[in-house]
Assembly symmetry: C2
DNA sequence: ATCGCTGCAAAAGTTTTGCAGTCGC
DNA sequence: GCGACTGCAAAACTTTTGCAGCGAT
């Protein structure tokens, strides 16, 4: 599924369209074709953007990334492409509370995100903890969870310590 | 906190403004005042709507409910009221994947929702399962989860059986 | 009487859609 | 060449905001 991720990571420092990463371009193209989808430059670049980011991106961020190397691209196409990729299972959608949806390459390692409401830091969380919850729901309620990604909001350790420090020093 | 819920449920069949439920109106009013908020008819009705629904409502649904007994209400007020009630902790916000946010009365029993992607059924899930996840995160990662509500999407038991039935009978 | 709250209208922001033309296969 | 896909523009939709005036305390 995702040697795309690895190939993409290899080109993180590259900014040229596809000159330095013909292998990535090729891998993405093959993947799309194997799913019966046309490998248009727009689609390839959307996948490349998500691979390069190695994390979640919003539609407008993808738009900017792609537009840098394919200036005539249109935002509507980004959205339509993301719909297609979602349906194909290549991409995962999430709401990280930014007002707009975020998208991520579907990796083989399921993981989730912890979003700090104070400092905005986003850290990854392993799926292990959630896996037991999923199994429990399937056994107890017969509910088969398909949600692949969870975003939990709260206060990260750093911000908690910062807060405690303030409270301890100058309690007002 | 929420004899509001109980009082609200008592008036589920009532449609008159507040004539048949002076106790509910009074309870909500007192609650708002005790928090230093003005008990305007708009605010009281928003809370009454959420209590009557005994579940999650979107802003437009609240709007419709309130407008039925207070026609001059404005949608902007609904949003501003919900902001206020969120800040006061009387209300909880969730994304149930409907494109718009959903809101719910903050009850003393924390619970979550399982949303079936096939039939749209929404069932409640006890917080017990999630509680352990929360504790784990606090211990392991030092992350204090503040997300009070979780929406998990998937396939409910009924739809799974329905699907299996079809597959078993006429596998096409 | 004060000032928080509301109604109205307009704006901001994200996402969708119709249509004509283009380009991958 | 065919049909899927794209660009463009406009619309649909949720949510926010400025401002003048009303009304709860």
């Amino acid at each position: 599924l995702n040697h795309l991720n690895q190939a993409a990571r290899m080109t993180q420092h590259t900014s040229a369209p596809t000159s330095r990463a013909p292998d990535l371009h090729r891998a993405i193209t093959d993947r799309l074709r194997s799913l019966g989808l046309r490998a248009t430059p727009q689609r390839v670049l959307v996948l490349a953007a998500l691979g390069d980011a190695h994390g979640h991106l919003r539609a407008d961020e993808i738009m900017r990334w792609v537009a840098e190397r394919y200036p005539t691209v249109n935002l509507a196409t980004i959205y339509r492409t993301l719909d297609t990729l979602l349906a194909a299972g290549l991409v995962t959608q999430t709401d990280l509370g930014a007002g707009a949806a975020s998208f991520e390459l579907t990796g083989e390692t399921r993981h989730h995100h912890l979003v700090c409401e104070r400092c905005g830091a986003v850290t990854e969380m392993d799926d292990a903890l959630v896996a037991s919850l999923r199994e429990r729901l399937l056994c107890d309620a017969g509910f088969r969870v398909s949600t692949t990604h969870l975003a939990l909001f709260g206060i990260c350790r750093a911000c908690q310590e910062r807060e405690h420090g303030l409270l301890g020093a100058a309690q007002e």
